[in-house]
Every structure is written in structure tokens, then in C-alpha cells.
């Protein structure tokens, strides 16, 4: 069990309706991509959707028409297999045309199953787990030394925390006092073979991060009214911060929720229609 801490308060200025509308659109895109030629990692894309929407539509200082703007906040999707959710969020945010999402996995396009640099807004190609937090540390260190205000957000999967390099990165961020880097853990509690706690237990997770010198908070990763303030307020405490976002794998499509079988799926036309209907019914 994650040790419960005080939930961040909801902030009045969060436009929850707009964020939920975007999150719904992203989930629709994810299912369409899942019904495409190569399928996709549906479960982890649906669990991370609200986190990505909160970041891209509220928290991150980015310019879709100028992806390499020097003043931007950096974002690294360390769990690169959630590329469908990332591309969909970037498209909704205006980094790439929405109709380009239909080219996912097609050799005529640039949207590979793991993010690549060819996609506007993608700063690092990811996919091999355990790299992203180190990249975030490097970005944060460069900003800090240069006196630049850029903040860095890194989204990790929870199964990914089994990679030792994550903890090398965690140790170094705290040692260097990088409070401009924030890790967000998509804590959906499932990995390919089953429950994270059955396969390679992560708990007590909050204590692990704290013992590594991080500020740690736990938040409902689908409650945008609370998730947004938690992400907004994470940087600047004097220590690096981690937001442990409790999520549901497959979130939004009832028959895929909390099922390890939804980790990767190539949806048949029938399965796609069924998933879409479930998503709409739950909205």
C-alpha cells in the first residue's frame, strides 16, 4: 500500500472541464491508434493521459509553434511506450496536426511506437526504461548552472522503478539539490506479468523516494482538480519532488481497466468499437 499523505488541495483556477474534454479526446485518439496497423500500449497510455493533459494544458511553459523555445519547461516521457498518449496530447496541444495521428506505425509517417526526435515537442527518444530521470537531471543541472528558470518534468512508469538506473538518477538529483526537476510516477500498479507488488514489489514507495532525499506527494492521478496543483507546486522546495500519481491501467474503458491484458493491444474493428462505446459511456 502506498502510505497516504495529505492530498493536495483542489485549486479554484483549474479549468477542470476543459482539461477533461482534452483528456477524453486524447483517450479517443489512443483507442484509434490501438486500432491502427501496429496496435499500441493501450493500458499505460490510458493511465497516463490525465497526467499528460494536466502538464501540457496547464503546467508546462511551452510554445507549440516554437518547440525549441529556449525558455520552455522540459518534458521527458520516460515510459516511452505510452507514445500514443504523448502524440495525442501533443497533437491536441498543437505541436502536430491531429490528422497525423492516423499515420502512427505507418512507414509513410514519423510516428513510431516509441517517441523519436522527429516528432515536434519530443525532446528525447525514449522507450528503454530507466533513462528518463537521468536525462531530466542533466537538463535541470544545465538550467541551474546557467541560471535559467526552465523546469523539468519527467513521467515514469511504476514498473520502470525496478530499473536500477532510476535510483542512480534519484540519488544524483537530491545530491545536486535540483529542485527544478519533478518526477511523476504513473502508479497504475500493473506490469506485463501482473501486479507490481506481486512481481517486484515497490512499496513502501513514498518512503523510498523520501529516503533518497526527495519531496514526495501522493495524488489521485485522474482527479485533475488535485493533480494540477500538485504538479504546479512541486518545483522549488529546495529538493527534487516526486508526485506519485495513483492511476488505473486502461482508465476510461471499463473492460480494460486494471487488466494486465490491456498492456498492449491491437484492437480489431469490433474491439475498437466496443472500447470506444465504453469510453463514451463512462464520460
Amino acid at each position: 500500500m502506498t502510505v497516504q499523505t495529505a492530498e493536495p488541495l483542489a485549486a479554484a483556477d483549474v479549468d477542470v472541464d476543459e482539461l477533461e474534454r482534452r483528456a477524453f479526446a486524447v483517450r479517443e485518439h489512443v483507442l484509434a491508434i490501438g486500432a491502427g496497423p501496429i496496435g499500441t500500449h493501450v493500458g499505460g497510455s490510458l493511465s497516463v493521459t490525465d497526467i499528460l493533459v494536466a502538464l501540457y494544458f496547464d503546467v508546462l511553459r511551452v510554445r507549440p509553434d516554437e518547440p525549441e523555445w529556449v525558455g520552455r519547461d522540459h518534458f521527458v516521457l520516460s515510459k516511452g511506450h505510452a507514445s500514443a498518449a504523448l502524440y495525442a496530447t501533443l497533437a491536441e496541444r498543437g505541436f502536430l496536426p491531429i490528422n497525423e495521428l492516423a499515420t502512427y506505425g505507418r512507414s509513410t509517417g514519423r510516428l513510431m511506437a516509441h517517441p523519436t526526435l522527429a516528432v515536434p515537442g519530443v525532446e528525447f527518444a525514449t522507450g528503454s526504461l530507466g533513462h528518463g530521470l537521468s536525462l531530466g537531471v542533466g537538463l535541470a543541472l544545465a538550467a541551474r548552472r546557467a541560471g535559467r528558470p526552465n523546469r523539468v518534468y519527467v513521467v515514469l512508469g511504476d514498473g520502470e522503478l525496478q530499473e536500477g538506473s532510476v535510483w542512480e538518477a534519484a540519488m544524483s538529483a537530491a545530491h545536486l539539490g535540483l529542485d527544478n526537476v519533478t518526477a511523476v510516477v504513473d502508479r497504475n500498479r500493473l506490469q506485463i506479468n501482473g501486479s507490481t507488488e506481486d512481481r517486484m514489489g515497490l512499496e513502501p514507495l513514498t518512503e523510498k523516494w523520501r529516503s533518497f532525499g526527495w519531496d514526495a506527494s501522493v495524488v489521485d492521478g485522474h482527479d485533475l482538480a488535485r493533480l494540477v496543483p500538485a504538479l504546479r507546486d512541486a518545483p522549488g522546495s529546495g529538493r527534487p519532488s516526486v508526485v506519485l500519481a495513483d492511476t488505473v491501467k486502461g482508465r476510461g474503458v471499463r473492460h480494460l481497466e486494471n487488466r494486465k491484458q490491456g498492456h498492449f493491444a491491437k484492437l480489431s474493428p469490433t474491439a475498437y468499437e466496443r472500447a470506444l462505446a465504453a469510453l463514451r459511456a463512462a464520460a
Partner: protein, 340 residues
């Protein structure tokens, strides 16, 4: 170990004192970093860099501790922001422990990270196989876009570091551990990445070497071969990638074959690269003097470990002599290596 070791070369190098390529690298990096704030020294508890950099250029130095995977990824991110990090660890760790980070975060992103691997080959002889790097050239040169360099002496290391500072893309620089005899009598040597240096002209066979002991062995072997009437050319192939294919084609055209020498496995390193190149561009016989496919079983000096592993001036002489035998069907008569 087979037979007595010839620990003193018969061919004496010019009258300069032995020098350390690591020290030459450090001094050159300091000089470059003083002049350009973008040049950083990223350390991993390697010992010897912290004193000067931390004191003099603290904003351009960071020690990330004993964590090489993090080291490589952090350096990639630093480079992505416009910095020019020189990353320091042992060759063994750069090329095996942290290879995935080098592949994905540095090479795949074509970032200008300079990976400096010390204690390469058998230069950490006494530390044993955990610290030996007999596969680093093979691993690094298989990575797309990676420039792979191995200096023959301290002076060349300094020239190399200067030449890489503003090179686009990633670079791997392979350094040794202790002082070695200089190959060059002077520092005023032209150095261009990707262009081999002819140390000795010859008409019968071309010896292509990379790294300190290999180049010294090649020169010693050429001198001994000359005493038997064999005229051997010697090329210092300091750049293993991109390989100087033109120089190799000339060697294949003008001499009867090529002998490669390296402080690295005979599989996949300089010898592999040379064999691939001439097989494609101008087929000729290539004999590879590199270490045999095994781990060291006993303690020994750098030179002893190399000899045991199959790399010495004796091995080069034997390979060159074998190559010049009239029948192409003859097997190379390289001294047998016994292990364990």
C-alpha cells in the same frame, strides 16, 4: 605463458621520457575548458580530475559518483542544451556497463558527448578482467555516428582532444592507464581525425596499428623484419572510425598484405574494421594480431598480459612473415597461446 618475454624492445623509441596520455588529456581539457565555458568535465569518481577542475572551473565540473548509467544519460542531456561534456570513466564501464545509455541517449540523439574511457585494453593489467576492456572498440564502432579514437602516445592524446572539441556528434576516446614510451619525437605532428599516419614506409607488408603498445610493437617488428630483408610499412590508425579506407586501399595496392595490431580482442576491433574495409574495397590478406578470445587467468604487467593474450612484437613479426610466405593456403604461424 609461452617462452621468455622480450620486455625491452630491440627497437628503441626516440629519446623522450615516458608520458601519460591521461595526464595529457587532463591538461588539454583544462586548457580547452578555460577558453570555452561550454566545455564541461563530467566525472564518475575516477580520481585525478577533481583537484584542478573543482578548484578552478567548478561551474564546468560535476562528479556524479560511481553510477555510470546515470553518468551517460546526464551527459547526453547536458549536451542537448548546447554544452560540450567530456565524460570520464574507465573504458570497461563506458563500453559495457553503460553501453545502452551510450547507444540510446548519446549515439541515437547524435549528441556531442566526448566519452573518455581510461584503463583501456589490458592497461589495467593488474586489476584483472573486470577492469580490462578488450571489447570496447567493437562495441563503440558498431554505434551509428560514433567517432572512435585511440592515441598512440601522450602527445597524440593531446592533439586528439583538441581535434574533437568541436566535432559534431559523439566521440569515444580510448586512453590507457600508465605512462608509455612516446611514439613521436616531437609534438609538431599533423593530426586529422580519420587520416592514418604513416610512421614508416615499406614495400612488402603493411602493419596497421592503433594504441600505444600496438604502435610500439609495430615499429619494433618493422625494424626486426628489416633485419631479415622484409620491408614493412607502419600505419598509425589512430581513428578506428571513420576508418581511413584510402590509406588501406593504398596499402593493399602497394604491399602484399596487412597485419593489424591492437590491444583489443582480435574480434571486431581494429582488425575487424580493416578486414571489412579491404574485403569490400580491395581484397588482400589481413592477419589480425589481437587478443585471443578469453579472459586473463593470472596477474601480470600490461606487456605480459598482452604477450600472453597474443599481442607483442614477436606476434607481429610472425604474422608478417607468415603473410609473406608464397602460398596463400599456408596458415598463419602465430606463436601458440596457452592459458589457464
Amino acid at each position: 605463458m609461452s617462452g621468455a618475454l622480450a620486455l625491452r624492445p630491440e627497437w628503441e623509441v626516440p629519446s623522450r621520457a615516458p608520458a601519460s596520455d591521461r595526464a595529457a588529456y587532463r591538461d588539454t581539457l583544462l586548457e580547452l575548458a578555460r577558453a570555452d565555458r561550454r566545455i564541461w568535465c563530467v566525472d564518475s569518481d575516477t580520481g585525478g580530475l577533481e583537484k584542478q577542475f573543482e578548484t578552478e572551473l567548478p561551474d564546468q565540473y560535476v562528479d556524479l559518483g560511481i553510477a555510470e548509467a546515470n553518468l551517460m544519460s546526464v551527459s547526453a542531456a547536458l549536451a542537448s542544451t548546447g554544452l560540450l561534456p567530456f565524460v570520464n570513466t574507465m573504458a570497461a564501464f563506458a563500453s559495457s556497463r553503460a553501453l545502452e545509455q551510450v547507444k540510446v541517449d548519446i549515439a541515437y540523439h547524435r549528441l556531442p558527448v566526448r566519452i573518455v574511457g581510461t584503463h583501456s585494453g589490458f592497461s589495467a593489467a593488474h586489476l584483472g578482467p573486470t577492469h580490462h576492456a578488450q571489447q570496447d572498440l567493437a562495441a563503440m564502432r558498431a554505434l551509428p555516428g560514433m567517432t572512435v579514437l585511440t592515441p598512440a602516445d601522450a602527445g597524440e592524446a593531446a592533439r586528439m582532444v583538441r581535434a574533437t572539441a568541436y566535432l559534431p556528434g559523439p566521440v569515444y576516446i580510448r586512453l590507457g592507464r600508465s605512462e608509455t614510451d612516446p611514439v613521436y619525437a616531437e609534438d609538431d605532428v599533423e593530426f586529422t581525425i580519420g587520416r592514418a599516419i604513416e610512421l614508416r614506409a615499406g614495400a612488402d607488408v603493411t602493419i596497421v596499428a592503433a594504441g600505444s603498445y600496438p604502435v610500439l610493437f609495430a615499429l619494433e617488428a618493422a625494424e626486426r623484419l628489416a633485419n631479415t630483408g622484409v620491408d614493412a610499412a607502419v600505419l598509425n590508425m589512430h581513428t578506428v572510425k571513420p576508418l581511413d579506407v584510402n590509406a588501406l586501399v593504398r596499402a593493399a595496392e602497394t604491399t602484399r598484405g596487412i597485419v593489424t595490431v591492437e590491444d583489443h580482442s582480435a574480434l571486431g576491433g581494429l582488425g575487424g574494421a580493416v578486414a571489412e574495409a579491404v574485403a569490400t574495397h580491395h581484397p588482400t590478406r589481413v592477419l589480425r594480431v589481437g587478443t585471443t578470445d578469453g579472459f586473463c587467468a593470472r596477474p601480470g604487467t600490461h606487456r605480459e598480459q598482452l604477450h600472453t593474450g597474443g599481442v607483442s612484437a614477436d606476434h607481429v613479426v610472425a604474422a608478417a612473415s607468415s603473410l609473406l610466405q608464397p602460398s596463400l593456403t599456408d596458415r598463419p604461424q602465430i606463436p601458440t597461446v596457452h592459458r589457464g
